[in-house]
Subunit: 226 residues, 2 copies
DNA sequence: GGTGCATTTACAACAAATTTACAAGTTCAC
DNA sequence: GTGAACTTGTAAATTTGTTGTAAATGCACC
């Protein structure tokens, strides 16, 4: 899955750092801004996929940042970070075009859940594109390109590749793959998986003989590395 | 890896049964509840690792179940099952602390993918990693690293090492090891164990001649020290 | 303590068995 | 018919059990 850029606009350096580390661990790309106007600039220039905005900011307030962005037709989803004593005004949030809010201090699980939810519902077409190596998968168009040239894949190949990408870095047994990709009613031979893997490698590996993405785990199954 | 318990709270008995069979097949342990209040009780008493909650439930609604659980500081991840006509209100989902949602009718693949994704997110990734000395075993990736460099192991070596780690500090006879790691039917020579121990030592002991982790108990068997 | 002897274990090399890669063939559905 | 998908034969790669031998250990006895 393509890495999402998330811009944190908050004057609390410690919070920015904590959240950044968290986001990085979850495969997001954190960006930071310490005050409203740099936040506004970076939101325009770096084109993040999501904004985390503190309402109380020195100088240009978070409210102002959001309003200005929306006035500039920036539709990037926004999650507002508000202090508990602020008594969040939901009408205000709507006005400034926020998508959600989290009350500080917040738990990491909560923040991540909200980030994921917002990203999912924001119909950012980038969210529907995943990459690995020189391969790009557009799930909306159901098209796979390699070096910007379309590569034709059969439905089975497409499903298998997507399953690999959705479960990257995990060892996947042939049985698990069959269950997940083919469904549990229908049971082709486990060697069928091998056959499809061969074809995927031929289409997407630089050197199919030395695969770098679809690895075999001898005696167990396969493992996909982006 | 401990089996994940998944509690299905839904009034549709057929759906519960179908999903249960599916989950069992995938090595999960399904639990069921037909209405909101039993669901709530079981969520507390059985301590499942994941909840599948239908929003429309007789009596106590799914929404209410989630809210009450969160109010009771239950952080078990929740996947909401919603009927297509419900027009999922995503803000509501966030409010009740849901981690994801699936629209009925759903495909088995989709449901499983989401279950796995949520479990992966909520589980402490460190929990899947064990260590001894400078060696790190990641059971999810099925990869062993030493000083952060991957060390390739064969299935037999991997199984044997894991058995040692799971039974550390105990004296293990060769017969016990054969039974546990190889199984009851198949009986290779007891010296086979020695051969594999030699290979493990060569890969993971600082000085294979003076092993500090896989110790031999002369005349009896082996003992593993982390 | 030291010595000699019987066991037990370590290790390397090898052959057998298993597993995977790949290609070609067959079946099935549209 | 055409293309996709499953099956299957076979070669190649990998793993694994076995075994011969050297080294280590335990032990009885001096």
């Amino acid at each position: 899955m393509a890495q999402h850029k998330i811009l944190i606009i908050d004057d609390d350096a410690e919070l920015r750092e904590t959240v950044s580390i968290l986001l990085e661990r979850e495969q997001f790309q954190p960006l930071q801004a310490a005050d409203g106007s740099t936040g506004f600039d970076k939101a325009l220039s770096l084109k993040p996929n999501l904004l985390l905005v503190d309402l109380r900011l020195p100088g240009m307030s978070g409210i102002e940042v959001c309003k200005q962005l929306r006035a500039n037709r920036v539709t990037t989803p926004i999650i507002v970070l508000s202090a508990i004593e602020d008594e969040v005004d939901k009408v205000l949030l709507l006005e400034i075009g926020a998508d959600d809010y989290v009350v500080k201090p917040f738990g990491t699980r909560e923040l991540l859940a909200r980030i994921r939810a917002v990203l999912r519902r924001s119909s950012d077409p980038e969210a529907l594109v995943s990459r690995f190596g020189d391969v790009e998968v557009n799930t909306e168009r159901r098209i796979i390109t390699r070096n910007n040239k379309e590569v034709k894949v059969t439905p089975a190949e497409y499903n298998l590749l997507l399953f690999f990408m959705q479960n990257s870095d995990r060892v996947l047994t042939r049985d698990l793959i069959l269950n997940s990709v083919w469904g549990y009613e229908f049971y082709p031979n486990t060697r069928t998986v091998d056959a499809h893997v061969v074809r995927l490698r031929q289409k997407f590996e630089q050197d199919p003989v030395i695969p770098r993405h679809i690895l075999t785990v001898h005696g167990v199954g396969y493992r996909f590395l982006p």
